[in-house]
């Protein structure tokens, strides 16, 4: 693990704030830079930060950037980076909302293509997250794996959550009950 250079962290946040398209591709860009390119954190710690960010209320991407920033850079750099992450998209959205012909079929189709690309490209990122379900609790060992029944249970819970999500149940009770299920599986079995 290294400490992120201030300038690199600010640039990464600005790049994602100004260029990323699609929900999960934004996290994918963080993963690409933090784990693969700069190696500021390991894949395991990236997942740890992601889990922490997802468990807290608020917009996922900003939560994640704030979490990772707290780990990697001083507080003032973190706050500046968050502004760089939020501002470009907000300004662009205002411009689009005020002036762009959103009902124009060409504009709609181009945006649709970007969205499809963003969602398809999350495949590798999802694979990394899925691999993280095998991890064991020993932090001192580089490759520590959980017991097989525990791993199977984790995959089953994730799959059940995906299936249940398609029924459009209220988010808070759904997440709360699955969080309880996850904790019960980990600690009781």
């Amino acid at each position: 693990m290294q400490t992120a250079a201030t300038r690199s962290w600010l640039w990464l946040n600005f790049k994602i704030g100004a260029l990323s398209v699609g929900v999960a591709s934004r996290l994918l860009m963080f993963e690409e830079a933090m784990v693969r390119q700069h190696q500021w954190v390991s894949a395991d710690e990236f997942q740890e930060l992601l889990t922490l960010a997802q468990m807290l209320p608020g917009p996922n991407l900003v939560n994640f950037a704030a979490c990772a920033g707290s780990r990697l850079v001083p507080r003032w750099v973190n706050l500046s980076a968050l502004m760089l992450l939020i501002t470009p998209g907000a300004l662009m959205a205002i411009m689009i909302f005020a002036w762009a012909p959103l009902t124009n079929p060409h504009v709609k189709e181009l945006f649709r293509g970007f969205a499809i690309g963003a969602f398809l490209l999350t495949a590798r990122f999802l694979w990394t997250l899925a691999s993280g379900l095998k991890a064991g609790s020993r932090r001192d060992q580089k490759e520590s794996y959980a017991a097989t029944h525990k791993i199977i249970g984790r995959y089953a819970i994730a799959l059940a959550l995906v299936v249940t999500s398609f029924y459009h149940l209220p988010a808070l009770p759904l997440i709360g009950s699955f969080a309880a299920l996850c904790l019960a599986w980990e600690f009781l079995f």
Binding site: G17, S20, V21, V23, A24, S25, E32, Q47, T51, L52, M55, L56, G58, P59, N60, L61, V62, A66, C67, S70, L85, I86, G89, M92, A93, I94, F97, A98, H106, L110, F111, G113, F114, I116, G117, F119, L120, L121, T122, A123, L126, G132, L133, S137, R139, A146, R154, I157, A158, L159, L161, V162, S165, F166, A171, L172, I175, C182, L183, E186
Partner: protein
């Protein structure tokens, strides 16, 4: 008064936002459309759609509602309302987490919650992908899979891949 209403609305909903923005739409609609009549339901959905397509956090919807209701100042206070509370909570919780990170039970709680994170991201991805592709899914996969393969094998970056798929899709469909 209107600025305070905008700020408090988004400060309130941001603290209910577990696992994504989509679940907040009914809550925002109840206040913005039904209670205050600031905008129509269609215009509200349009702010959500724009939020999905612009870069950065997808909760830019808050900024757009604020802009529509009270101009740039409205956009600013809505944005502050949306992010101030969660960011403060994240700072506090991250500090607490890293203070206790080496404890065995903290690691086990984090591992336990990983399926939840995977499930939420996978569900959101599949949901939006099926909405976007609809009947054109064979074309989408034919265009997308080779580029996904290139990205998987580190030949191209994610952003290049997204733009490549977007432009090819636009040219083909």
């Amino acid at each position: 008064m209107i600025y305070w209403q905008l700020f408090s609305l988004f400060a309130h909903v941001s603290l209910l936002a577990f696992g994504g923005a989509l679940g907040l739409l009914p809550e925002i609609q109840a206040v913005v459309v039904d209670q205050y009549h600031w905008m129509t339901a269609d215009a509200l959905v349009q702010t959500y759609v724009v939020g999905q397509f612009v870069p950065g956090p997808n909760m830019v919807m808050a900024t757009l509602v604020g802009y529509k209701v009270a101009g740039f100042t409205g956009a600013l206070v809505s944005t502050l309302g949306m992010y101030l509370g969660p960011v403060t909570i994240v700072f506090i919780c991250t500090a607490l987490y890293y203070r206790n990170r080496q404890k065995d039970y903290v690691r086990r709680i984090e591992l336990a919650l990983r399926p939840l994170v995977l499930g939420l991201i996978l569900a959101a991805t599949l949901l939006f992908l099926t909405q976007q592709l609809q009947a054109d899914w064979p074309i989408g996969l034919a265009i997308g899979l080779p580029i996904v393969w290139l990205h998987w094998h580190r030949r191209i970056s994610a952003i290049t891949g997204v733009f490549a798929i977007g432009v090819i899709w636009y040219a083909v469909v």
